[in-house]
Symmetry: C2
Subunit: 223 residues, 2 copies
Amino acid sequence: MYVTLSAENRPVHGPLSARGTTSAGLPTLVKAGQHLYREGDEVERLYQVSNGVVRLTRMLEDGRRQVISFGYPGDIIGFPADGRHHTDCDALVDTTLFAYRRTALDTGDGDPDLHLALLEAALREISAMQDHVMMLGRKSALERVASFLNVLTISYGEDIDTHRRIDLPMSRSDIADFLGLTTETVSRAFTTLRKAGVMSLDGAQTIVVRDPCLLAEMAAGED
Amino acid sequence: MYVTLSAENRPVHGPLSARGTTSAGLPTLVKAGQHLYREGDEVERLYQVSNGVVRLTRMLEDGRRQVISFGYPGDIIGFPADGRHHTDCDALVDTTLFAYRRTALDTGDGDPDLHLALLEAALREISAMQDHVMMLGRKSALERVASFLNVLTISYGEDIDTHRRIDLPMSRSDIADFLGLTTETVSRAFTTLRKAGVMSLDGAQTIVVRDPCLLAEMAAGED
DNA sequence: CGCGATATTGACTACAGTCAATTTCCGTGG
DNA sequence: CCACGGAAATTGACTGTAGTCAATATCGCG
C-alpha cells in the first residue's frame, strides 16, 4: 500500500499474465486472523491479493511491532530477500489471493508477461517503502493519519451521496503501528479531523470523508 | 545501505556478471556534490557504486528532506518505478560507479547472470527499506544513531589496534535527515555515546568505536 | 440487553525539537 | 607552520508534540 499517490502507482487488478492456465495464479484462501506466512519462512510463492486485506508486520526482539504495509486487492506481496520472508503476513478479514511460483519472479518460468509484471511490482514496492520512510521520518502525527486516510479514501473509498466512505478493516492499534504512533495519538488525530469537519465516524470502523480536499491538504501539511 | 545486519545482506562487490565485456558496467565518475540523477528523471541506467559514497534523497513540497539511503561500494542504486527515478542522487565524495543498461533489469539484455544479480539487489532493497521503516517507526533517537553507527562500523569500518575506525563522509545534517531527527539530536546522541565509553571522535568526521558490543546493544535498545 | 474488547478522553510526563550561544573544525593564505 | 575566518558541530535553555498511564465511553457480538 502506497502512502502517497501518483497517477502511476495504482496496482493492476486481475490476473497478471495474458497467458493461460499455467501461469494464472492458483487461488488461495486465508481466514481472518490466520497467517499466510511468517518472517524467516522460505519463500515458495508470491501472492496477489484478490479480495480482502492482509497485514505485513515486523517485530523487534523486545516486542515492538511495526506494520510494514497493508495488502489491498491488486497488491503483490511476498517478495523474498535471500530466499526468505522478512515480515509476517496475516489476514485482517477473510482474504483470497492468487499464488505464483517464486520462479516466476526469478526466471520468468516460461511466462515473460508474468515475469515482467512481478518485477514491476517489486520496483513499485521499493518506491512505496521509500514513501513510507519519508512519512515516518518527516511528517507529524496529524499529517501521517491524514495521509493514511487520504490514500484509503482515494484508492479504496466508495462514493456515498456527496461524500466518500471507507471501511477500516484494521484496528487503531494496527494504524498506530503502521504510522509509528500510539493508539491514543491516532485516536486524537481522528478527533481533530472530525472537529475540523474533514470527516465523521459511522461506528469505529467506518469513516465518512466530508471534505476530501481539506484531507489532502492536511496530509501534505498545509494546515 | 541496510540499517540492520544479517549474514546474508552484504552487497557483492566487483562486476555483477561473470560474462565478458558487453555486460560489465561502464565506469562513471561523479565528483563530490554533483548529481548522478534527480527525482522524476527517466531511468536509463542502474549503477553499482565502486568507490565513494552517494546520497539518495527525497523532498516534500515544503522543503522537508529525507535521506532515503547512502550508497556505499557494492550497493546497487537507481531502481526505476514506472520508468522514473523517485529520489535525487548526489555524491558525498568523488565517486565511481559501474553503469548498467536499464534493460538488463527488465529483460536480462542477453545476460542472465546480470539479470538475476540486479533482481536480487532490488529484492534486498525492499528488505532494506522495510528495516528503515521499522527503525523510523519504532526506535528512539539514541537507538537510531547507535544502529546507524553499528552498521557502518561492521560493514565499512577498519580495525585500528583493538578498536574500529569509521570515516563519516556525510554531515550531521545528512545523518539527521536519514534518521528522521535533527542535527542537534544527533549531536547529543554522539555525546551520550562518547560519555558511555562506546566511542570517541577524532575530528568531526572520524569515529573510533571502543566498545562494539555495547554499541550493538544500544542499537537494539538493551540499555 | 449485557458484556468484553476497542476506542476515546483526560492529566501528566518525557523525549525530541527549536532557537540561540559557543566551540570546534578545517581549508586558505600569510 | 601557524593564524584566520567561515562553516559545521556542540551545548544550553526552553518548548511542544507525542507518549504514558488511567478513567470513561462506545462498539459490536452473542
